[in-house]
Amino acid sequence: MIPEEQQDQAGLYALGLLEPDQTAAFELALSGNAELRALLRELREATGELALTVPAQTPPESLRRRVLSEIALRAQEPTPMAQERSSRVWVPWAIAAALLVFCGLLAIDRVRLQQKLTEVRAEDPLMQTVFFTLAPSEAGPAGAKATVAWLPGLQTGVIRITNLPAPASGRDYQLWAVDAVHKDPISAGVVRVDKNGVAQIRFKTVEMAQNVKAFAVSVEREGGVPKKEGPIVLVGTA
């Protein structure tokens, strides 16, 4: 059974009305909840149907030509219209070809620069650091915040938390990495705050994270859990 609050969030998510932090928290919840995903699909379909309630208008034929011409260019194949044109149309094509060559040169230059940047980054792991700012979710305590410095190359990071009250007895805070290629969030271990609600901890994810999109802190059973179960209290993207 999905809590009503989460169902409401799903409605707003389907309409694109959630704030970025709320979106990240909702997507985190979505990743491990098939029932919530099914509800979201229903809500999305209802949203799609709303478009049919609008009085029908016919788009102009000129728009069709514009769109199909652009797509034909993108597909790098001539449109039927282009085939009918006279041979004088070579001029714009020549300009386009010149631009293409110019863009190619720029692309080569960009690749070179990227290679150089990669080399520099490889030499100094600190250059790879990505910073995430975590803010309270709707269920989280107002005023709590955290910053994560994540080094993807070393698969390690540091989290600093402030103003986060200690969890209830028998509970622990647990850090999670939301990775684009993993269905479920990856555990980065239990995080314990001191009596002032502060923690600064070095962590490592339990699995290889390839493309971390967000970090989140949830309340879990004491000692932590292998798969996220409890509510998110802090969440944030890079």
């Binding site: 707003l12 009305l17 099914a38 809500l43 209802a46 609008v54 069709r64």
Partner: protein
């Protein structure tokens, strides 16, 4: 994957071909979807030129992002509607102009007009699906209909919607969710 109507299956087959770079399939998809998507863009933007530009952006996105379409998340039609709405909202925000089409009262009247059996729009549409969806939308309690129409057809945030209709945020969220679920339920039974 959820149950699919024959039209949804056909749309999905077309988008697979579009993802492979087949322009003929793209043309077919354009002919199938441009009407409702243009109508939506025009209603929200209230400007034919801007609606055309938005629709061009949307179809270029469909072409370039067809490979990312996920049938588990939505039907092709819904996916393109949400892409269109997103592009239109970007444009509305960019020009910092609130939608003039919808105020709560105006919308009530407009929808009321549309629900009339002999409404002009219905006669023009001659489209059973459109009439059916309109009719089901009109069957929703007016406060739910108002909330989801403001949420869908404008670029207002949920906080702004709550302020507009003078209700607490939690009430607005619940009305949106209940309205959408009720609409979906009525359309699928």
């Amino acid at each position: 994957m959820a149950f699919e109507t024959p039209q949804q299956v056909s749309d999905r087959e077309m988008i697979v071909k579009v993802a492979r770079g087949e322009t003929a399939a793209f043309r077919a998809l354009y002919d199938r979807l441009s009407g409702p998507l243009y109508s939506l863009a025009l209603k929200m933007l209230n400007d034919a030129g801007e609606a055309e530009d938005a629709l061009q952006d949307v179809f270029v996105q469909i072409w370039s992002r067809a490979k990312t379409y996920d049938p588990d998340q939505s039907s092709v039609f819904t996916w393109t509607v949400l892409l269109t709405r997103s592009r239109v909202v970007d444009r509305l925000r960019a020009r910092e102009r609130r939608l003039r089409v919808v105020t709560a009262e105006e919308q009530g009247r407009k929808v009321g007009d549309a629900s009339t059996a002999a409404s002009a729009a219905d006669i023009v549409d001659k489209n059973e699906e459109v009439v059916r969806v309109r009719s089901k939308l009109n069957e929703l309690p007016s406060e739910q209909r108002e909330a989801i129409e403001l949420a869908f057809f404008t670029d207002l945030s949920h906080h702004e919607i709550a302020a507009r209709i003078g209700q607490p945020l939690g009430t607005v969220k619940a009305r949106i969710r209940r309205g959408l679920l009720k609409l979906r339920e009525r359309l699928t039974t």
